[in-house]
Symmetry: none
Subunit: 196 residues, 4 copies
């Protein structure tokens, strides 16, 4: 792929990421994507053979970026607890930085087996990265624990979507909170006298 073609490929992915992310699959028109990318409608089809394939490509690039950045950050630390903190911060901050694009995962085309398969693969990969950290800590049931941790983080990130006032500060705070809660449990902050 020539440099110009590569540039256009990227421009389309960027435009599609922007629009699919903020409007979802169904409410984004290919003509809008083209317009956003500064090219003609037909040109999009030179790079992606259908709307679904474009969505797949956008999703794949986003997920891969998420994983790569995470793995890179994990290389820099050693203690499992530290790693868990890094995971939490990465999860929260990644979405905080992309808060305009929260519909990418939400409003995907249904009934597209390839996409469903890819999403399952991504979830598995993410989970395994967490599992690996937990195994270093000697956890039993590491998969369920990993799922739980990811779930916590995912929910704590939700308010980014719903609260316009959500700040970067909030994101950091929640990341720390999640790591602490996950490690020590609610009992750490619950009043033991109340029956725990």
């Amino acid at each position: 792929m020539s440099s110009a073609a590569n540039h256009k490929h990227t421009a389309i992915l960027d435009a599609a990421y922007e629009l699919f992310g903020s409007g979802g699959f169904y409410e984004t028109k290919m003509s809008e994507v083209a317009e956003h990318a500064g090219i003609a409608k037909g040109t999009v089809y030179l790079y992606f053979k259908s709307k679904e394939e474009l969505f797949m490509a956008v999703t794949r690039r986003d997920c891969e970026g998420f994983m790569q950045q995470l793995e890179h950050k994990l290389e820099d630390c050693t203690a499992p607890t530290e790693k868990l903190a890094v995971i939490a911060e990465h999860h929260l901050m990644y979405y905080y930085e992309r808060k305009q694009h929260t519909k990418l995962f939400f409003r995907a085309p249904n009934n597209n087996p390839e996409l469903v398969a890819y999403m399952a693969l991504f979830m598995e990969e993410y989970m395994q990265a967490v599992v690996k950290v937990l195994l270093e800590g000697g956890a039993s049931e590491p998969e369920l624990m990993a799922q739980s941790y990811i779930g916590m983080l995912d929910r704590l990130k939700m308010d980014i979507l719903f609260q316009p006032s959500f700040t970067e500060e909030d994101a950091y705070k929640r990341a720390k909170f999640a790591a602490a809660l996950f490690i020590h449990g609610a009992i750490g902050s619950l009043n033991a006298e109340n029956g725990y």
Copy 2:
């Protein structure tokens, strides 16, 4: 509303729940809903003024059912830990029993402020129910803790979607796992010698 009208209203909601749930908003046709409900296409519009409003009604009924059943179950127990266990079990089992309808929350119409507002309301309400339990236990930061717990449960339920082999047994197991993890934290099951 007469009994006959009420019956039709319900039939439409049931059909729409079935179809929106399994196919998502965009891939469900109003004509299919009508057919499923055993009535004519135009009749749907006598009860719901648009596809979006129908979706809203379906969502609302489902969320209300979820909350009502939860509150009813919570009435029967007293200890906060027990209540947390009930919440976990309710969350997992509710979705297990409705595993054919997992797309209801996933593939909703975008850019519908009313729906977004309602979903936020539901999340708030669910969260407050958990908060109330946590406050009984004297938790600090009960809202973040509630969100975290719900997030754990939500992720642990995901495999219902992706693993056809997921059993009722699995659902129960995960509910117990989540409650324990939430209360005692990962440290309970992590090898303390590994640096925790």
Copy 3:
């Protein structure tokens, strides 16, 4: 089918016959068909599920009309020679009367197996009708003879397409000519002294 629906069905077929006939399959737009039929674009699809199916229906109706009229005319005569004359006249006049629609057979959608199969069926049926007449006359190789006769007629009709000045008179004359030529052969009118 209600009378109104039946009327619309016919109106669409008529419009499609007109347009496919004069412009061919590819150069006829569904929107034009709708406009010609005095209805909305979407309505066409309530009666025919695709452009190809509409074309099939038009073709089928035309071919069936051709065959039915032919069989009806053949009932009225007994001698094989008379029947051959009737066939010739029917062939020429049928197309003369529909001279605006000559592209129906010519410019059909390619690669549509169903249409190809139907056309083969029609040709077979037409041929068999001629074969039947020839067998009454005791012909050997009746199928090749039938094909030949039909071919003669079909070519003699061509000028209807290309000569704007072609008259009804011409059509009758050619029908008679064809029948005579087919029965007696060229030798009847060729100068025997020239080597025949």
Copy 4:
């Protein structure tokens, strides 16, 4: 035109003949023609200014080849009956040898006056070649007779298209059959006692 250019011109015509012949005008893409010819899409337009003109050129070359071969074959014989036999054999064999390309004449672009005019011209030329033979035999109405003969041959060739099992043998047999039928008429093989 340089030799290289001439070669490319021919390569395009060959590719177009192949594709128009097997797929028809509308279902053949210029990009396919280019690919088949082993050149770039844009290059086709250096040699033919539009798809229609390319189709015209293909048609013209095919028709001219048909006529030239025919005239050449006719030079070798003297008796009109022999010439008629040669014509029949040429017609059948020409299409038999090109049976993959039967859609060239069938699925031409509509509403192209130039093409329509050319086809009329070709038919006229072919007819006149037959007329010439018939006049040597002293025929009256030689034009209608020529048309009839050509029509017979054209129809007898049709099965090449529809019967995959059609053999070269069949083609020869039909050629002989057509010549005999044309000269002696059906009466030669019909049972005279049946009323002829």
